[in-house]
Amino acid sequence: MSSVLPREILITTIARLLEGVRHVAVGASSPMPAAGAMLRRALDEKERTVRLSILGSVEHNFFTNGSCELFDSAGQGRIDAFFLGGGQIDGQANVNLVGVGDYPQVKVRWPGSFGSAYLYFVVPKVILFREEHTPRVMVEKVDFVSAPGFSDPEVYRPGGPVALLTGKGLFSFDKTRPGFTLESTHEGESLASIQEATGFAFEHADSVPQTPAPDAATLKLLRSRVLDELEETYPAFAADWRRDLAALSVPA
């Protein structure tokens, strides 16, 4: 088990969450979601075509109508999955990409909401992905709602969050409550360590399983084809990964 890198478990988990999708879009600086989508594509290639759009990439760009096309195609229902991070994420899956403190003169200003206030509503599978899992990120209530985790029934909302994946564990989201359920803890974490790191309450089984590592075949695919593909768009991330593999003394 210690022969698998933490990021490989994250990427494999992302690929599992993407089961059944046809078209995934990821942000420009999102190597792990991209890797997860590439793994999904490699696993599914005999059954279906999985498209991967990486914003700002030339190689992984299916768009020819400018930066509005991502939003248009999401509105058309042509994007099945998307990833959102967040400076703050709260227990109702609200996401804050704007800042900490009283808006507009926030104490800490982040870039802004980007397309979240739209995509979170229309993309069926939105995966919240943030490696940093601390009480300052996983808060009880966000200071600014860039995009809300759930909406009243009269609001047009074919999309929304399905999961929250962090450096410590994987949660599913139940929009009927609404709230998160801890599904698994990553190696080295426990229910207690996650509760301590999380500013919001969440549900969990009495005994929470560990996040599964990839099987040997998947791991091989990941370290060969996916890593090679990833290198084209994210050379620095791929180099890092290769270095860590070398340190593991595992043949890459």
């Binding site: 400018g66 507009p104 003169q105 206030a117 995009a147």
Partner: protein
């Protein structure tokens, strides 16, 4: 039609509403310093749909009154230091949007329509802080169906950088189609290009497919590598080291001032 950087900036005025493109679509960095040197003030910037170095520099130089945007950052080089500081100090007004809303506002202007409806947004603090956005109950639905109306955005000026233009003022924008609605929506559009080409870009169906016609272009100036340190699609990559150098320097106003006067001496990039 053909002009130069100074000629273009001489047609801008303090208080104008200026649309600028996202960092990967062709930012006219070449116009940034001339705008600062011309002493423009109280500009209202509209980022289509996000901003970066150009916005941060104009803010740092005190040219800006407000920024309407879905985000401002330096990408890999981190947060936008002068923008973030100005927001915290309250010295500029930030008008937070979401990407498709900026596009919707421009496309409403493109179509001569007063507004465009946009899904999403309901329940966000983005919407809560936009008194100019209106929620109505969809008149075409027989059920309760709230939808947001985004009013048309009519910039006074749109500026961007593109690979090439011809002497008639036709500008090749390729698949960066968001540049077209900026120009359609704006009263005046100023474009810098890496090169001016002979012939007519509209004369050939292949090049014509990627052209913003001269009809929408007020002036073109040649500015080789005019997006630097940003990249230009299909031409050159971003100079991330330079962006990082700026990001480090501009953490303080003094550092920003020093960077700007130092790079002013350097002149054009290699």
């Amino acid at each position: 039609m053909q002009s130069d950087l100074k000629g273009i900036v001489s047609r801008m005025r303090s208080g104008m509403r200026i649309a600028v493109p996202v960092d990967y679509a062709g930012v006219s960095m070449a116009l940034t310093r001339p705008m600062i040197e011309a002493g423009l003030r109280d500009l209202d910037l509209v980022c289509v749909p996000t901003g970066g170095l150009q916005v941060d520099m104009l803010v740092g130089a005190g040219c800006v009154r407000s920024v309407e945007t879905s985000a401002v950052s330096l990408g890999e080089a981190g947060g936008a230091p002068r923008f973030n500081a100005a927001v915290k100090e309250g010295s500029i007004k930030v008008i937070d949007a979401t990407c498709p809303a900026v596009h919707a506002g421009l496309i409403a202007a493109q179509k001569g329509s007063p507004f465009l409806p946009l899904r999403g947004l309901i329940g966000t603090d983005v919407l809560a802080n936009r008194p100019d956005w209106t929620v109505i109950d969809n008149p075409l639905s027989d059920q309760k169906d709230p939808v947001v109306l985004i009013p048309a955005i009519h910039p006074d000026v749109a500026i961007f950088h593109a690979p090439m233009a011809d002497r008639h003022g036709n500008v090749w924008i390729g698949r960066r189609r968001e540049l077209a609605p900026m120009a359609y929506a704006a009263r005046e559009t100023y474009v810098t290009v890496d090169r001016i080409v002979e012939g007519n870009l509209l004369a050939d169906e292949m090049t014509g497919a990627g052209v913003l016609p001269a009809l929408y272009v007020s002036a073109v100036a040649e500015a080789p590598k005019g997006a630097w340190p940003y990249g230009l699609w299909g031409e050159y990559n971003a100079d991330v080291d330079e962006l990082k150098r700026y990001a480090a320097a501009a953490r303080t106003q003094e550092g920003f001032d020093a960077y700007m006067s130092e790079t002013a001496k350097q002149g054009e990039p290699a």
